[in-house]
Amino acid sequence: MKNLSLLAALTLALTLMSSCSSDASAGRTETLTLTGSSTVAPLAAELGVRFEELHPEIRVDVQSGGSSRGIADARSGHADIGMASRALKPSESDLDATTIARDGVAMIVHQDNSITALTATQVRAIYTGKVTDWSEVGGTPGRITVVNKAEGRATLEVFLKYFGLEIQDIHADVIAGENEQAIKTIAGAKNAIGYVSIGTAEVDIEAGVPIKLLGLDGIAATTAAVADGSYPMARPLNLVTFGTPSPWAKRFIEFARSPKNADLVLRESFVPLSTK
């Protein structure tokens, strides 16, 4: 009985304790909050760690939740800086975007697929269901499995915008959430096609995942082609602010753009800002 009551008291105490635990940010008096794109978040987190080392008085808090969330949070003031892995839309012109790196989106297929490049017209025909067999675009016959991204993902928005499609036009066989889910789906289905961030795909190909990047409109999909600006389906990775940014937000954005931190951009397989 004694043990039981002890256990019960302990349970209650733990419940209360966990509900009012505070984060251990001893010594750091101010917090800089970034929310948004899950593509930018890992880079922002790395930048944040380095920024905190230089400025012990500030804590950088990075939360991932999609580009739309980042823009909404920047506008509402929930976040000091929003992260967006796409350019701002005309309806978002009240915000200021600063590009900190670039990334390309490329079509990918299984390694054994005989196709090496597609034109924009062909991709459009495949994704709208007008072309359903690889033989119709010059490949070995086989029914095409179309892999699309879930609504709200910046990769989907970049794709739709580039090819001039509406989401209702797309006839998908599989809808993937994360880049990795799309890549694993395609690695397991010989006749599938999808699109992902070039950086992510290059890292996976190096690790031996059986996929390959397709050229688009005659230009090979490589981070180098994104870097020199020749690859067409590229997107900026942006930090977004609303109104006059706070002094810390301003310093962080300058810090993120600094060539001294380009190594972090490369480590995340993105393309640093070119010097041109």
């Binding site: 349970t11 086989g142 499995t145 709200g152 809808i175 889910q181 289905a189 010989k190």
Partner: protein, 297 residues
């Protein structure tokens, strides 16, 4: 045990325990209401703007374009759950019967340990296995393989241990006299299991199936990885579909404002469906047992 003697006062620690347990119980119960209130509050925006009918009229789901048909996803949840139960129930009940009635002690203990390990495997591991092993098998090279069958198989693996362990526990509680009596009457193992053990353990077995169904309805990550996630009516074993939970997981992190509120309506529908199911299961499982109740009464 006799009652307390006159002038007896309960020790402080007993009273403390009483208070602690009462508050724990109150906390647990109020959590359900808090969650319901929160979900209702978040869903309220979309509900007042579009009305409940908008979510049950169309079959298209383009939440950023104002189309919110939830029915195909509700049907998908029903289909994957049914598929998983059809696969897992016979296997699970069979495994429970084997352990409780047929297997020698050491074999039963080893087998139970294996099933318990299966129960402890995180769902995302099942999903990953499904995505890299099962799906290519089902697809056979010319198809993605993601769809109803893959989702049902993965779910079945996840609920199998629940069914097996609860069935076994229910069978263990069947009084030995009943089984001995049946054996003395000359009933073979099949008749003993079918006519005596299972009817007597019926309530426990159904409780296990209810638990398993609840998990199958709520499971998200593993299904998300193998179901294909296209919003469509269930049309075939290899055709893709998107469950209600999968939909929320896929879009919630990326949804803002109205889209977010719409997803909470989906969550509300899911909660009500589970509540309805629990009530129905209680009515069904609580019916009088086939055997003449407790043999000791």
């Amino acid at each position: 045990m006799s009652g307390p003697p006159p002038g007896y006062t309960r020790p402080v620690r007993d009273r403390v325990l009483g208070i602690v347990l009462k508050s724990s119980a109150a906390l647990a119960a109020s959590l359900v209401l808090l969650v319901l209130a929160f979900v209702l509050g978040e869903a309220q925006g979309a509900l007042s703007q579009h009305g409940l009918a908008a979510f049950f009229s169309g079959a298209d789901w383009y939440p950023t374009q104002g189309e919110f048909g939830l029915l195909p996803m509700a049907a998908a949840t029903l289909a994957t759950t049914t598929g998983a139960l059809l696969l897992a129930a016979p296997l699970g009940i069979g495994a429970g019967l084997f352990n409780a009635l047929v297997a020698p002690r050491p074999v039963a203990r080893f087998h139970r340990a294996l099933v318990e390990v299966l129960a402890g495997i995180p769902s995302v591991v099942f999903g990953l296995w499904g995505l890299v092993v099962l799906v290519p098998l089902i697809g056979g090279g010319d198809h993605s393989g993601q769809g109803l069958l893959a989702a049902s198989v993965v779910l079945a693996l996840m609920i199998l241990p629940t069914i097996a362990l609860t069935t076994e526990a229910a069978l263990e509680r069947v009084p030995a006299e009943l089984l001995h009596g049946a054996a003395a009457l000359g009933l073979g193992p099949v008749a003993r299991a079918r006519r005596v053990a299972l009817p007597a353990a019926r309530r426990g077995v159904i409780a296990g199936l209810v638990l398993a169904t609840g998990r199958a309805i709520g499971e998200t990550m593993a299904v998300l990885m193998v179901a294909g996630n296209v919003v469509a009516w269930p049309a075939g074993l290899r055709e893709p579909l998107r469950t209600l939970t999968g939909n929320i997981a896929l879009e919630m992190g990326y949804a803002t404002a109205e889209h977010r509120s719409v997803l909470f309506v989906a969550g509300l529908v899911l909660m009500l469906a589970v509540a309805l199911f629990v009530v129905l299961a209680g009515l069904f499982g609580g019916a009088p047992e086939l055997s003449s109740g407790s043999p000791r009464a």
